[in-house]
Symmetry: C2
């Protein structure tokens, strides 16, 4: 369902080029539960952003559900981002001016769902990550791990077939992290593809496959 072929992503910094991804070829099948690991700065988030159609490669092919994303229209990319993929950002990327509930309701707006159903789904998603008592808090009125869980709830609320999570337990204690991994396992057992970046070996062990990245390439 996710296929990368010789993908490169270069950043031009004046007369210097940062090769964040330098030729990555990998396939992830539907229903996999895969961990992406590697040193800080090795290219994991860059890879996740390309899979999630939040960024475009400098070279190579990215395919989602068998369709190449290079050359797709903005509307087609937005459809993948909003309907097919749920994305948990490494820095959460919550909207600061609205509360937790409204943040989780945001993806449902694009799906054209009525406000009462949006609210019900968002409440259910927040309760699933243990934040039923923090729904009216704005992001700056939440702890780091609570913000992370709001970001997870927002990624799940649209029931996406692919869940991409960039270090989803980084700000959580081991008990709360374990609850989130159980939630991901439940979603994967329902047939969703789960790909997560992690630095935590316990989290990686929950995944059936581990992919390692170093200096923009995959390690065999």
């Amino acid at each position: 369902v996710i296929s990368l072929y010789d993908v490169r992503r270069y950043f031009v910094m004046g007369d210097f080029i940062v090769k964040a991804l330098n030729g990555v070829t990998v396939s992830i099948e539907r229903g996999e539960f895969t961990a992406i690991m590697g040193p800080s700065g090795s290219g994991k988030s860059t890879m996740m952003n390309l899979i999630g159609c939040l960024d475009t490669p400098t070279g190579g092919i990215v395919q989602i559900d068998g369709e190449g994303t290079v050359g797709m229209s903005e509307a087609e990319l937005a459809f993948i981002r909003n309907q097919k993929v749920g994305f948990v950002f490494q820095q959460f990327n919550l909207l600061g001016k609205i509360n937790a509930l409204e943040n989780v309701m945001t993806p449902l707006l694009y799906a054209g769902i009525g406000v009462r159903e949006r609210k019900e789904k968002a409440i259910a998603a927040l309760e699933r990550v243990g934040l039923g008592d923090r729904m009216k808090h704005r992001p700056n009125e939440l702890s780091g791990g609570q913000k992370q869980r709001v970001a997870i709830a927002r990624a799940l609320v649209n029931n996406p077939s692919i869940l991409l999570a960039d270090e989803p337990t980084g700000a959580l204690d081991s008990n709360t992290g374990r609850q989130i991994m159980e939630l991901f396992e439940e979603l994967n057992s329902e047939g969703r593809t789960v790909v997560l970046v992690t630095h935590d070996h316990d989290v990686a062990m929950h995944c059936r496959r581990q992919i390692r990245v170093r200096d923009g390439r995959l390690e065999e």
Copy 2:
């Protein structure tokens, strides 16, 4: 050197009160290397913000170097924040419009140091955290773990006698995290007091003392 006596920090949310800290009494001696642990939302960052004079308690006494902070003037609090304490924020809090080097130079501005010396000290601090080759990158041109290390370099550059780090290795792989812990141990062996919040047991084991927080109180 750090003393909290029956410290409370309440947040009023409409007609509901969140008791983020609900009676904390603890003393940390000069030269200690102490870890603060506890579940997500238990009050760790709130406690660190009070120790670092970034916030004031609802009740109780906070003393730094034997002096109570409640009732201090803004100039006295700024002196503690800029000269005595180095603070690594959980969300890094880097300034987005300037590059890594300029971010690390910022605390030296308050200390009235000339620009050439500020630059030299900032370069040394960035090299110490392994980012000598990313100095001209802005925060949005850095990976999560690289941003975290810029935040660590910025906290160290003024040679503070107290280092407060809120989850300093959360975005780092185990090797990079280990390098940062070795740096903290080196600073502590020079006599600096190091207090860090962590969810990582390996990191906590590096510290000579562990304090546990739960629901705004210390666990015995």
